[in-house]
């Protein structure tokens, strides 16, 4: 599909079509051969997030007749650019940095403009010490926090010297760290109780769940991936974003793609036989292909039926899922305010809150590890959570996308629970016959990030391209 058409379709609201004529959900492109059989493809890519969009672009560019099958009425997956408070806002994945090779090279290739989070220029810092609210400047906050990070990340220097090869240092000691939760590890650090509070809150946000839910070892990657530099880690995870939102990158990638796209159609069952793979959908269709790239999120894979069944290790991992299950919320407050960066303790409704847009009515972004602690649709509750940091703030409006209840994500970003990296990761990446697994949740490097989605999508596309050559 040409970029122009894709954008036009979106603009006219016709990127999706009548449910009565389900077959017309398939939009063909001008290069597809008119003689090939309907509903038969070289490759079906399931899931149109960054992994699936990358994989289907690369596969179709290699000449493979490719279908991109997407359950939702839109592409982008756990990234979604929408309008809120007058901005093109990403309510899912947002920030990225130049320490993230896969997404950064796409940004350079398509020459996309970036902008920065307002919080980069924060002048006001708010935090909690022994249940008491504190306020100060950067130099009152960061040194204590960075000292705590240093203790927390210590094993990373030893075990992640090749962070894109996550099992490179696999050993008994390595496995021990993987079986330990972040919370357990923090308990044993030689830092003050206040510093432990800081790191617990940080670990809870990184895993987007209680700090005892995620693997300590898995948490250690981000620093290693950032060249063991704490400032650079924050550059990668919270500074730059695409000026027009992540949807602009999706649009460019799709404009470069020759894949057919079928929106609003979910895969429910995957059957492999000697003659190929059949993908059955929630609209009672059967689609056939030589290969499948499964690029749906880890947390929804347990709802897809595989025949023959997949390995027990995969089954267990899919059932267990990743830890990401917290809240991200944009909040517009009345009036202009100093740019703030606030960080509370793990048990607070919002663990982090910072200024994202320095508008006349300031727009904050907040993160909480637990949706039970804050009803994001209740502005009174949101106001109460904000006032724990900014006692005079008046909430005008707020928005949060509930990724946890969305049947096509069932969670937010990926961090592994204890043990998954050392017992399941390798096996999760092993194809099941003709079915390959891709996605941010399967990535080698920046697992859990847009970068990891692109990395994994591109790698799996390349493997399938090679296999197709040998048929």
């Amino acid at each position: 599909m040409k970029r122009r058409d894709f954008i036009k379709n979106i603009a006219a609201g016709t990127a999706v079509v009548s449910t009565a004529a389900v077959s017309s959900l398939t939009r063909s492109h001008e290069y597809s051969s008119p003689v090939r059989k309907k509903n038969e493809f070289d490759v079906i890519v399931i899931g149109g997030g960054f992994a699936g969009v990358t994989a289907s672009r690369d596969l179709s560019q290699s000449g493979a007749n490719t279908l991109l099958l997407e359950a939702r009425p839109r592409l982008g997956g756990r990234t979604f650019t929408t309008k809120f408070a007058g901005h093109d806002m990403d309510v899912g994945g947002t920030w990225f940095g130049w320490g993230q090779p896969s997404i950064w090279s796409e940004k350079m290739k398509y020459d996309l403009a970036i902008t920065e989070s307002a919080a980069i220029k924060a002048t006001s810092f708010v935090w909690y010490e022994n249940g008491k609210r504190k306020e100060g400047a950067a130099e009152d906050y960061w040194p204590t926090v960075y000292e705590a990070y240093d203790a927390y990340y210590e094993p990373a220097y030893k075990y992640f010297t090749r962070p894109h090869d996550p099992l490179y240092h696999n050993s008994e000691e390595f496995i021990k760290l993987d079986n330990m939760s972040a919370k357990e590890a923090i308990e044993g650090l030689k830092i003050s109780d206040i510093q432990k509070d800081f790191v617990r809150s940080f670990a809870a946000i990184n895993g987007h769940a209680d700090s005892d839910k995620s693997s300590y070892l898995d948490q250690l990657r981000w620093l290693a991936l950032s060249g063991f530099n704490k400032d650079f880690m924050w550059v990668n995870i919270g500074q730059y974003k695409l000026k027009n939102g992540t949807s602009e990158l999706i649009e460019h990638m799709m404009a470069d793609s020759n894949a057919e796209v079928k929106l609003g159609t979910a895969a429910t069952r995957i059957v492999q036989t000697s003659s190929g793979v059949s993908v059955f959908t929630n609209r009672n269709e059967e689609l056939k292909a030589k290969y499948v790239v499964m690029a749906a999120p880890l947390n929804v894979l347990k709802n897809i039926e595989f025949s023959p069944s997949i390995s027990p290790v995969k089954q267990k991992a899919f059932k267990q899922g990743h830890t990401g299950s917290g809240v991200k919320i944009y909040i517009k407050i009345k009036g202009k305010h100093p740019i703030v960066y606030a960080n509370g303790t793990e048990d607070m409704a919002l663990n982090y809150l910072w200024t994202e847009y320095d508008d006349d009515d300031q727009i904050l972004v907040g993160f909480g590890k637990d949706p039970e602690k804050i009803d994001v649709y209740d502005d009174e509750m949101v106001q109460k959570a904000v006032r724990e940091y900014l006692p005079d703030a008046e909430v005008l409006e707020s928005f949060s996308y509930d990724w946890n209840i969305d049947p096509y994500s069932k969670g937010t970003w990926c961090m592994y629970p204890p043990g998954m990296l050392t017992t399941a990761f390798e096996e999760m990446n092993r194809p099941e016959g003709l079915v390959h697994f891709a996605g941010a949740d399967f990535a080698n490097g920046w697992r859990g990030f847009i970068d990891g989605a692109i990395e994994s999508g591109a790698r799996n596309a390349q493997i399938v391209i090679e296999k197709l050559k040998n048929i």
Binding site: V16, K83, Y377
Partner: protein
């Protein structure tokens, strides 16, 4: 390209009619509708953002926007969106229509639902 971008922006901005009959508390309605607006346009001919365009939804059959790929669950629901039906749905969509793609916990407060339904009635 520039004008297309502009068109995109205009489409994404649900134009909310302010010419009410005075019964709606528009300030409140707009505030509550900002929870819906990230996924729904409500202006005439508005774009699909994630959910279907809601212009004229009050009194409409469910699942009626031709260009929108409703979930099989909502296709099978087959109700008319009366005020009462909307109240029920918006309070807890995923319970009222199990299997819906509308990932939304629901508006638990009746005054929030009233405000939003009032706004939907104005946009027809």
């Amino acid at each position: 390209m520039k004008s297309l971008k502009l068109l995109l922006m205009l489409c994404a901005f649900p134009f909310i009619s302010l010419a009410g009959d005075g019964v709606c508390n528009m300030k409140k309605a707009k505030k509550v509708f900002s929870k819906c607006a990230a996924c729904h346009s409500v202006n005439k001919g508005g774009a699909t953002i994630l959910g279907p365009n809601l212009f004229g939804v009050v009194g409409r059959e469910s699942g009626a926007v031709q260009s929108f790929p409703y979930s099989p669950a909502l296709i099978d629901y087959k109700k008319t969106w009366t005020e009462a039906e909307l109240h029920k749905f918006i309070e807890n969509p995923m319970k009222v229509v199990p299997g819906t793609m509308m990932a939304f916990r629901g508006l638990k407060k009746i005054e929030d639902r009233n405000a939003v339904i009032c706004l939907l009635e104005e946009n027809k």
